[in-house]
Amino acid sequence: MSLAETLRIEGGRILATLIRYTGDFHLAEDALQDATLAALQRWSDDDPPPNPGGWLMTTARNKALDRLRREGKRTAKEEEAMRLLDTEPPPPDDKDDRLRLLFTCCHPAIAPPSQVALSLRTICGLSTEEIARVFLVKTPTMAQRISRTKAKIADAHIPYRVPSDYELPERLDPVLVTVYAVFTAGHHAPTGRFDERVDLAAEGIRLARLLTELMPDEPECWGLLALTLATQARRAARVDDAGEMVLLADQDRSQWDHAAIATAAAIIDRHQGRRRPGPFQVQAAIASLHGMAPSYEETDWVDITELYRTLEAMQPTTVVRVNRAVAEAEAYGPDRALELLDDVDSDWHYLWVARADFQRRLGLTDEARRSLHRALAADMNDSDRKLLERRLAELKG
C-alpha cells in the first residue's frame, strides 16, 4: 500500500485517535503531518513497512510527544496528553474514536456547512480543494472556513465525546446529514472520474451502520442506512465498460444488487411502524421503489412523486425540487415539470440538465440547447461532462 493510499484509508482513524489522546486538533494534525513527512523520507515505494497504518500511528504518536516535550511550560491538559501518549498501548481500531470526532465536528455550536466541511477534511481525508468543489466555493474560502472551525473547537473547548442519550435528538441531525454527505461524495465524485472515491461511499455506509448500532431506536439512522444501501446497490450498473456514467433509464437492472435492495426495503418496513418519519426515511423509500421497479417505464412514478412532495415539505431545497420535477415529468408530463422549475435559479448543473430534458421533450430545441450550455458552465466530473456534450451534439444533429 502506498503512502497516499494509507493516508486516505487510515488517516481519519489515526487523526481521531490522536485527538482523543491529546485533546487538541492542531497538535494532532501537526503530528500526523510530521509522520507523513517522515514516511516520505523513509519509505521506499517498492518496500513500504509491513503495517503502514500502524507505522504511521506509532510515528505520529511519537511526533506528538516530541512536540509536547519541546514546549517549556505545559498545561495540566498537556501533561495528561503526554502521559497518555507515553504509556497507553498502541490503540486498536477504535470505531468510537471516529464517532467522537464526528460528533465534535457536528457540534451545534458549529455552522452546518462547516460541520460537513470539517468532517470531510478530518474523518474522510478529503483535500480542502476537493471539499471546496463539493460546496461550489473557491479553495481559499473553504480553507478559511475549515481553519476558523478548528479554531472555534479549540478556543471554545467543544468537547470530544459522544453525547449522552438525552442530548441525542438535538445532536443527531447534523451527524446524519454529514454521513450522507460523505456517502454522496464517494458515490458521485465532484470532479474527475466519478468512481475514483469508491472508498468514501463505503465509508459512508460504514458510518451509517455504526450509527444504527449506537442509536438503534432512532428511525432516521435506519433511514440513512437504507438509503445508502439502496443507492449503492445500483452502483455496478451506473458505469459502462468505458467508465462512463449510465442513466437510470438505460441501466442494466440485472447488475443491481437485489439482495441489498431487499435489505433496504426490509429496514424501511421495519421502522415505518414507529410513525416518526423523517427526510432520510422518505429518501430511502424513494430509492427502494426505484430498486424494485422491473424497468424505468414500469417504475411507480406516482408514488415516487408523492414521496418527493412529502420530502419537499420537510426540505424545501433546489435539489429536492429538481428531483421532484423529474418524477412529476414521468408521472404527469414534462410541461408541468418544467413549470415547477421556472422559479428556481441555481448554478447546480442538474437543474439545467432537467430543464433541457423537459424542453427537448416539449420540442423546445433552442431552449434545450441553451439550458445544456448553462449546465456545462458548472463544475462537474468528466463522466457527467461527456454525457452532456453528447446530448448537446444530439440536439444539434
Partner: protein, 121 residues
C-alpha cells in the same frame, strides 16, 4: 478549566416592571446564583443599568489622542447587554448547560464566549 463569559441580552422594558414581576425574575436569578456558586461554576457576575445610562468612549487618532464620548451604547440594537456572568465550566457543553439556566436565556438570549486565557509569565 476553561472560563466563559455568559453575556445576557434582552429587550429593555419600555415601562418599569411591577414589583411582582420584578420579584419573580429576581427569585429566578437568586436561584441560579446560589446553584451555580455551590457548584463552583459561578466566578462572578453583575447586572447592568439599562442602555440609556451608557456612555461610549473612543480615543480618536491613536493612543493619547482625543477622547470622544457619545451618549448611549456601542450599538443601538433591539436586544441590549443587560448583565453577565463569568462561568468556569469543563467544556462548551457544560457552559451551555449552565447558560441555559440563566433566566436571561428565556427572557432574552445568552451569548457564551470563551475567555482568552493568557499564559502565565
Amino acid at each position: 478549566m476553561p472560563r466563559y463569559a455568559a453575556l445576557i441580552y434582552s429587550e429593555e422594558p419600555t415601562a418599569p416592571p411591577s414589583d411582582e414581576e420584578m420579584g419573580l425574575v429576581m427569585a429566578d436569578y437568586t436561584e441560579f446564583g446560589e446553584k451555580s456558586r455551590t457548584a463552583g461554576v459561578n466566578l462572578g457576575g453583575e447586572a447592568l443599568h439599562d442602555t440609556s445610562t451608557a456612555t461610549t468612549v473612543r480615543v480618536e487618532g491613536g493612543k493619547g489622542g482625543e477622547i470622544m464620548t457619545t451618549d448611549g451604547p456601542f450599538a443601538e440594537t433591539k436586544e441590549a447587554l443587560g448583565g453577565f456572568y463569568l462561568l468556569q465550566a469543563s467544556d462548551l457543553d457544560d457552559a451551555i448547560k449552565w447558560a441555559s439556566q440563566i433566566p436571561g436565556a428565556w427572557h432574552g438570549r445568552v451569548e457564551v464566549r470563551p475567555i482568552w486565557e493568557f499564559p502565565e509569565e
